[in-house]
Subunit: 561 residues, 2 copies
């Protein structure tokens, strides 16, 4: 059973619930934010993902990628699908028109990548890195470097990597040792070993553009000594550069994406951004990249849910309490309360995840292009605060919810042929990469909330609370008050006991996620269609099975502070 | 890094905390319950598991088992390890002396299998089924059948299977269609397809004894029409019987155990128990088998914890809040609060799981052999009520806690060479087999608690409460009261709305598990060693990070009823 993008659901949230065109118009102009333009893009994207990318999910797992003598062969069909993707112009969707892009809103790219990840996580890893590399180069590259590389990245003619991690430097990039020695002509010779490089070597494109974090000979130790270098696989004159793939990892899942050990051996490179500005150059794309990963969580959960729903609608076992199908010896398990609860609960996460991630995608564009400086700043705060929450909470649910969906299959879920266990294995990595979920929690509480005493988060919560009027929202408004009060007390407690916020950062992130989810469901509840079974069931699942955790987390924060 | 049985921990809980010998003496006599006897058995078992079985975990995953032309080849070394296991007499540990067994308490076998599963889940699947088949045959087999098969099962010379599931009959065994036609000599010809048969075919022993659930020609439909048949791979005269392995499943994990599709083609078999008594014959061993699976959860979690602890003690990344190692650029991650929380939380589950599972193992022997009928009945209730709770809650934690341990490794956790992702994949099956965890919850609430209005559970809770005196236990005593009150209200609510208990059976099981865990930690807290860092840290993790869920679940039960 191949994944089918649920176009109507995505469209409903993007256009009806959030009215993305109205929100984006002041920033992007009437043309880029035209619903008459968005609709056909979404329809075409759904067709491409369902028709071309989804059927390759199983071969992505087995045989997966193969390594031999420095070369990586991607699974059968992957290269053709990528060429079709490129020829249809999908990489250029949100790139600037002057670089050959289509200049469409980020959020449309977000929907496209949600679907691509749901359909085929492994395949999608390759193009998913393109946009970040493009943004990084666009903002920090020299004019010569931009002229030589931006158009090929916007068009997807060449793919890109982020070469950051080293064997001893993972969450702590400041420990990286890769060296870059300046040459007389302004270029650099880059040497060092990078691990966990997604798409470090493959056969999808001829050239691969590596963005490599390294250190100049006279650089200080720690993160401030890091610079970023563009190191192409093929040099401008067509020769091979000294960028070698020594191995691909054997992993729990994601076998469709080669995870490479890359050895840079006096490879020729050019600096992106100034010396010591490597992390700053990368952080340009951090929010966008982490939001992509949050949408992987949403997409993979939706894919797991589709499989589980399909199985539950065709498998008969035992009797359902209540009305029975007397003509058969057993009822469909979709009617069993324990199964219903699993399905409705995942739907509640998927729907709220879309509301929050799409709104954040809209804010990404507003932060960049809104004419009002105050609105830009508010959008910037929204993105900065919500991105780690969405990344951690929805990749967590992507894995755990997919495992819950596996449970719907009973023993069949543990067997490969049903496809669900692949999603569980694939989705596990999203809790780790782009900053582990523990790092996201520390980023939220220690770097973004406590330093200003919770002021920026308070402004976001106030914005949420303004949408919540009437008695039915009283519990959520109370929760917002409690979260604010706990934030203040934590800021005080941290002064005396600096370990405290580190201990409970994960609870703080969960509480914030559940407040946001409550807001998302209140937005959904305000729609005319809220009473339909499609929306009523997950709304009830949120209220019954998910929301109780919010009180628990708030209680833990209050006890700790 | 191979698993090392933590002998001192297990011994401490079995002998110091629970004083198993004193509890067992009235039932088994001074000799079988002699601590002087138990200690060397535990020591020898720890040596065997660590030295012989643990080193084969990785080959169990890759290459795993291979299938060709009806034959299954187990991974290199598996057969030799099994022969060593058999020759050392381990299968016979808790079998009756008259069958060639050693007649030791069940709980010793429990500890042995906790270690075996932790060391090598796949390998352990083969001997894990032996004892259940032995008990089933011992209680329900004819004298001739017992004479022909019991000694070989007790000694482990032959291995056994439970052939229950069919493609359309999983959780609902009443749908099984396998047919058994009586022959003139009192034997039967058994025909049908069984799936998910662990160890249905292998090269560990020459003969394999299948216990097959089937239906006589005139049997009624549904579970009451099921009978149990002993069908050997090799007939008494040495010829092959009509029991064929058509395929082994490709699974998410547990590749060291062949999961077979078995085709019985007019296979010769003999009935075990009377016609229509198939499920009754099997249910003899249900508590024991499910308790084994609960101990898989405990063991696999402990194995994951050993790996994560080892990694966290050697990996330096970033600075720990508080004291730092200035001679190095970063501190060991074991000092990071988020990592510490993961490790201590898993330890809290492992320790409490041991207390509860070992006590339940003791009760299994008391239920069978205590001279006092009232004590036997109380033990029977304890086993009946606690077994589904331990099976569901600790296999759930086995998987989710192993995944948390994987998180400690960051990206390295996702890579095969570290071994942690194998434990995550292997452990997932325990949430499904021996009755899915959803079925366990229904078994607890719908079949065991509500029918007597919560009386039997009330007696168990009263027994727990008697151990809890003093102010420090007030929250747990309050929780016990709330659970009792919620039970009464659920019984009433169920009369009007029969779906309600099905919806919240999972919450009910979790609340019960957390009450039991609270009791276990109060037992541990009453020991002289409770203040040592080894026991203080997980105790604190239980109180801070685990216990809050209890209030949440109780609140959900109260809202629902």
């Amino acid at each position: 059973m191949n994944y089918v993008p649920p176009l109507a659901d995505n469209r409903y949230i993007l256009l009806d619930v959030l009215d993305a065109p109205a929100q984006l118009r002041p920033a992007l102009g009437a043309e880029a934010a035209d619903p008459e333009l968005m609709d056909p893009v979404l329809e075409e994207a759904a067709r491409f993902v369902g028709g071309v990318v989804a059927p390759l999910r199983a071969v992505g797992d087995q045989p997966g990628c193969r390594y031999e003598d420095g070369r990586v062969t991607t699974p059968p069909g992957f290269r053709q699908a990528y060429q079709a993707f490129r020829e249809a112009g999908w990489p250029a969707l949100a790139c600037a028109p002057e670089d050959g892009g289509q200049g469409l809103p980020w959020v449309l790219e977000g929907v496209l990548f949600e679907w691509l990840n749901a359909a085929n996580h492994g395949w999608t890893m390759a193009p998913a890195l393109l946009h970040g590399a493009y943004e990084c180069l666009r903002h920090h590259g020299s004019p010569e470097l931009k002229a030589a590389y931006l158009p090929q990245l916007a068009s997807g003619e060449w793919l890109a990597t982020m070469a950051l991690t080293e064997p001893h430097a993972g969450s702590d990039l400041g420990l990286a040792r890769t060296r870059a020695v300046p040459q007389a002509d302004g270029s650099f010779r880059v040497s060092g070993t990078k691990i966990f490089i997604s798409g470090g070597e493959h056969d999808l494109t001829d050239n691969i553009v590596h963005l490599v974090l390294g250190r100049l000979p006279d650089a200080p130790s720690g993160p401030k000594g890091l610079s970023l270098f563009l190191v192409p696989k093929l040099l401008p004159d067509g020769r091979r550069n000294g960028a070698h793939c020594d191995r691909i990892e054997e992993k729990m899942g994601l076998h469709g994406s080669p995870t490479c050990v890359m050895r840079f051996d006096e490879a020729l490179g050019w600096i992106v951004g100034g010396p010591g500005r490597g992390l700053a150059a990368m952080f340009v794309m951090m929010n966008s990249a982490r939001l992509h990963v949050a949408l992987q969580g949403v997409g993979l959960l939706d894919a797991a849910l589709q499989l589980a729903r399909g199985y539950a609608a065709e498998r008969r076992q035992m009797r359902v309490p209540g009305p029975r199908d007397g003509s058969q010896p057993a009822d469909f398990i979709e009617g069993h309360p324990a199964i219903r609860r699993i399905l409705d609960t995942q739907q509640a996460w998927v729907d709220a995840g879309r509301v929050l991630a799409y709104q954040t995608g809209i804010e990404l564009d507003l932060a960049r292009s809104h004419p009002d400086a105050a609105r830009r700043e508010a959008a910037q705060h929204w993105c900065s605060l919500l991105t780690p929450v969405l990344k951690a909470a929805w990749t967590d649910q992507g894995f755990h919810g997919a495992s819950d969906c596996l449970q719907v299959f009973g023993g069949h879920g543990y067997v490969r042929e049903w496809g669900i266990e692949q999603i569980v294995r694939d989705s596990r990595i999203a809790m780790i990469y782009e900053g582990t979920n523990e790092i996201q929690a520390i980023d939220l509480l220690l770097r973004k909330v406590l330093p200003d005493g919770g002021a920026a988060l308070g402004a976001v919560l106030l914005r949420l609370a303004r949408d919540l009027e009437g008695d039915s929202h009283a519990p959520l408004l109370t929760a917002i008050d409690r979260l604010q009060a706990a934030t203040g007390r934590l800021a005080q407690a941290a002064a005396a006991a600096p370990q405290v916020p580190y201990w409970i950062a994960g609870d703080y992130l969960r509480a914030t996620a559940l407040v946001l989810m409550g807001w998302a469901w209140s937005r959904l509840a305000s729609q005319p269609a809220a009473g339909d079974e499609r929306w009523r069931r997950p709304a009830e699942a949120f209220r019954r099975w998910i929301r109780p955790e919010l009180d628990m987390r708030l209680g833990m924060l209050e006890t700790a502070s």
